[in-house]
């Protein structure tokens, strides 16, 4: 009722009731995201300012910032070079085994960081596995090159998934129109396809960029000093959360300025069909035999490096374990605990991302811009600081929630909200408002339109978002350390319990389980979601 009345007063706006509900939800989510910032500022003010000043003005700090920047740029370039061709091959060509490729392209996300880094390091050295198995010694990978390689190999799926959702939603009649107007395939790609992929590409870049800015594991093993290194030292070697708060705030400032630039570029663009008629059915490029071979070779190389390498290292470690069947029950128990946190977190994150994405795409306003930027805070704040903020606020405001399963799931969802937001937002950009409008004119209420028209259309994006959150939650550590119920022992913690004591070999089955179970789960979801499965 209220909706109809409001519409009468504001004939230019659509679905105001939905807008109000979503704005409230968005503000709630934004408010939760502000908590960690409030906490960090609170802790930062406990610091002694001259000490902060001398810490921040070291020449090394500037060097670390420059290194961070270089690493972000290089990683984005390499990851895109892997993701874009993969997404095109899977979405737009008749490549053989493309359903399998679609799953394989997501699995690298499940690789625990330490495994990838040891895999790359294990390639070199005279006691590395390359030398032990094949008798080959190659120079050690390190520095910017090594860190770029390691990070790209397990972050490219973020870009891949965003791109694939965009390819799936792209109206091919646009490309056909361009072709009909005489553009060459290359021109079509550069002037029609690429601009339409830009929101997805930028969403992917944003997530990978933020990941790289915050990553510590891979850069430390590759001996490349970036800004997150300074934060790690402060927490880990000095057991300090006060000066670390300053460093974390700087990191967040960098991250949010990146978010700001991304949204500046994204806003004001329109990518949906506006004309009448329907979009054409998707047609696939029929690859000639040589194209098939070339495509599969490319896929093979990427898969070999991103999945084959870590699996080889894990198998190498596991071959020397004699009682593998004995730990299977423990493995399954840990897996079910991992699932019990990762699955609800993925669903909740997607549910939270929906209103935020709808606000950004359908109701752009200063408020929706603010909410959309706040949505990235969870991903930009170092995980340990993020968890500590919720320790503080739940102990002081909601004691009954502290170290409960519910709080763990909520914090996971907030922390990884940005991951779900990207694909969902890109998918929404490609939904024609006219479709929703005609549903309205056929007498459907706003909720019904959202549930029966919008949601099914953006389903590939929602599924992609959930998969991203699921896979990262499976291997997450600092939040689980602090906020999981005591005694909760998912795969990631079980794995860490072994690596922290230098027992890499004993950790291997758990690391492998994270990869294999994530793979099976992702395969299951993508398989049963025909739209997402391409």
């Amino acid at each position: 009722m209220a909706a109809t009345e409001t519409r009468t007063f504001n004939p230019g706006r659509r679905m105001p009731a939905v807008r109000i509900v979503f704005s409230v939800l968005g503000l709630l989510i934004g408010g939760l995201m502000l908590l960690p910032l409030v906490w960090l500022v609170m802790r930062a003010f406990q610091a002694d300012l001259p000490t902060v000043w001398s810490m921040l003005t070291r020449p090394r700090t500037l060097q670390m910032l420059l290194n961070t920047l270089a690493l972000v740029v290089c990683t984005l370039a390499l990851a895109t070079a892997m993701a874009l061709p993969l997404a095109w091959l899977v979405s737009r060509t008749n490549l053989r085994w493309r359903r399998l490729v679609n799953v394989l392209a997501v699995i690298p996300l499940a690789t625990p960081g330490y495994v990838m880094a040891y895999a790359l390091i294990g390639l070199s050295g005279n006691f590395g596995f390359m030398n032990q198995v094949f008798g080959v010694t190659i120079p050690r990978l390190e520095g910017l090159f090594g860190a770029t390689l390691a990070l790209s190999l397990y972050t490219f799926p973020y870009i891949y998934l965003n791109l694939r959702a965009a390819f799936a939603g792209l109206d091919q009649s646009l490309e056909e129109a361009a072709r009909a107007l005489g553009a060459t395939p290359r021109e079509v790609f550069v002037r029609v396809t690429l601009p339409h992929l830009m929101p997805a590409l930028m969403a992917g870049w944003l997530v990978v960029g933020l990941y790289v800015i915050g990553d510590f594991g891979a850069v430390a093993l590759m001996r490349y000093e970036v800004f997150s290194y300074a934060i790690y030292i402060q927490y880990s070697a000095a057991f300090d959360r006060i000066y670390a708060a300053w460093l974390a705030l700087i990191l967040i400032a960098i991250a949010l300025s990146v978010v700001w630039w991304e949204s500046r570029l994204r806003e004001g663009a329109s990518y949906a069909r506006t004309g009448s008629g329907t979009g054409t059915q998707r047609r696939r490029v029929a690859l000639p035999a040589a194209g098939q071979a070339l495509g599969l070779t490319f896929v093979g190389l990427v898969v070999l490096a991103s999945i084959g390498l870590p699996l080889a290292v894990l198998s190498f470690w596991m071959m020397r374990l004699d009682d593998l069947p004995a730990i299977l029950p423990a493995l399954l128990r840990a897996f079910s605990q991992s699932l019990s946190a990762a699955v609800p977190a993925a669903v909740l994150a997607a549910a939270m991302a929906l209103p935020v994405a709808v606000l950004a795409v359908r109701y752009p306003s200063p408020l929706s811009t603010l909410i959309n930027r706040l949505a990235f805070v969870g991903y930009a704040v170092p995980a340990l600081a993020f968890a500590l903020a919720f320790v503080f606020f739940s102990l002081n405001g909601a004691r009954f929630l502290y170290q409960t399963h519910l709080l763990l799931v909520l914090v996971y969802a907030l922390s990884f909200l940005a991951l779900a937001l990207g694909p969902i937002r890109s998918a929404l950009y490609q939904v024609r408002p006219s479709l929703e409008e005609s549903a309205r004119s056929l007498g459907h209420g706003p909720v019904s339109v959202f549930a029966r028209v919008t949601l099914p259309t953006i389903r590939p994006g929602v599924v992609a978002g959930m998969v991203l959150v699921f896979v990262i939650a499976m291997k997450e550590l600092p939040i689980a350390f602090l906020l999981a119920p005591t005694g909760f022992r998912p795969l990631a913690i079980t794995m860490f319990s072994r690596t922290s004591e230098g027992m890499l070999m004993d950790a291997a089955p758990y690391a492998a389980a994270i990869m294999v179970f994530s793979a099976l789960f992702v395969g299951f979801v993508l398989r049963h979601d025909r739209k997402a499965g391409g």
Binding site: R58, R60, I121, S124, G125, N126, F127, G128, R140, A220, L221, R223, Y232, I233, Y235, S236, A237, A238, F239, D240, R241, R320, S336, L339, S340, V343, P344, V347, L384, L388, V391, F392, L395, R399, Y402, Q403, H405, L477, P478, F481, L482, A484, T486, G487, F488, R489, I493, T494, F496, S497, R498, T499, S500, E501, G502, M503, L504, M505, D506, H528
Partner: protein, 329 residues
């Protein structure tokens, strides 16, 4: 399909969590090493221990944030520095418990106690470091013959504790000079002790100062791993520092009697034997004969170790500042 998925999710969400336990332990020590000890304790006393496993640093910071609202009864840390960081949250331990270890292995005000010892040792490549080259003291690592050959884990807690000990024993001037000399030798920077031993095995570095129990894990995996370890041959050299893992009882604990019982159990002969045998650490009660035959034995470590009061190693910030000043961080 959707219904199946929802059912699956509901089923998983209903996965029972462990029953409420009598004791809550925050453990920076890994599950595979301590789970057997904990089961033995429960079997013997009937007291359940619910363990939160995590990184020592993360848990120490968590305890700082929780303050007196912490649900934890006990904190088990990998190093004394982490215990020092939260010492204000501990309650004093009973004297008879404290008396089970030498004074150097516990807090001077009796708020935490060591549970096992680990020696700092020199790990070296058996392929590239000849007997004639071996450094006799840790100070000698600044010699130009080791340029580019030393592996160093500058963020490692044991390394920082070692720098703190160097300052306490020999003064700031010596510590600063040693760090500067080390930096001048352009060490190969590694992330942690495991990575250090890997780097020496891989031929990236030839030697490094580390904790005694890491190499054992490599040798269990591959007996021919080309790294060995030794103590610096000069008695009382700062390089042969003895560090500890330890534990304290939180002042907010409602179960301090049970918590102390747990500590007493860890200091029992059986538990100490477990640490020295399975975990390749050293007993701290001085009562157990280690069962492991290793290149570095407890007798050697105790005989060769410098006398350093672990309580004096609390100034981690100072050590960190000095390491930064030397350009190693």
């Amino acid at each position: 399909m959707r219904r199946l998925r929802i059912a699956l999710i509901a089923l998983l969400a209903a996965t029972p969590l462990p029953a409420l336990a009598d004791l809550t332990l925050y453990s920076g020590r890994g599950e595979p090493l301590i789970a057997p000890i904990i089961s033995a304790f429960t079997a013997e006393t009937g007291i359940n221990v619910n363990v939160r496993y995590g990184g020592t640093a993360e848990l120490a910071i968590l305890l700082q944030e929780e303050g007196d609202r912490s649900p934890a009864d006990l904190f088990w840390a990998q190093d004394a520095a982490a215990l020092g960081a939260v010492v204000g949250l501990f309650q004093p331990l009973p004297q008879e418990t404290l008396d089970r270890v030498p004074a150097a292995y516990r807090d001077s005000e009796g708020r935490w106690i060591a549970t096992s010892g680990r020696g700092r040792v020199l790990a070296y490549s058996t392929e590239r470091l000849g007997a004639e080259e071996m450094p006799a003291t840790m100070a000698e690592l600044t010699d130009p013959r080791f340029r580019g050959r030393i592996a160093l884990a500058p963020t490692n807690g044991s390394f920082l504790a070692h720098v703190a000990a160097l300052r306490v024993v020999h003064g700031d001037e010596v510590a600063r000079e040693w760090l500067a000399g080390l930096a001048a030798n352009q060490p190969v920077m590694v992330r942690n002790n495991t990575a250090m031993i890997q780097a020496i095995g891989d031929g990236e570095a030839d030697l490094g100062v580390t904790n005694n129990y890491y190499l054992v894990r490599f040798h269990r995996r591959a007996a021919d791993f080309p790294v060995n370890q030794m103590l610096f041959p000069s008695q009382g050299d700062i390089g042969n520092l003895l560090l500890v893992a330890g534990m304290g009882v939180l002042s907010g604990s409602d179960h301090s009697d049970e918590a102390v019982a747990f500590i007493n159990f860890l200091l029992s002969d059986a538990a100490q034997q477990f640490f020295s045998g399975e975990v390749a650490e050293f007993p701290v009660t001085g009562r157990v004969i280690p069962t492991r035959v290793d290149d570095v034995s407890l007798e050697d470590v105790v005989r060769m170790a410098p006398e350093v009061d672990l309580n004096a190693l609390g100034d981690l910030e100072g050590a960190l500042a000095m390491v930064r000043e030397a350009g190693l961080l």
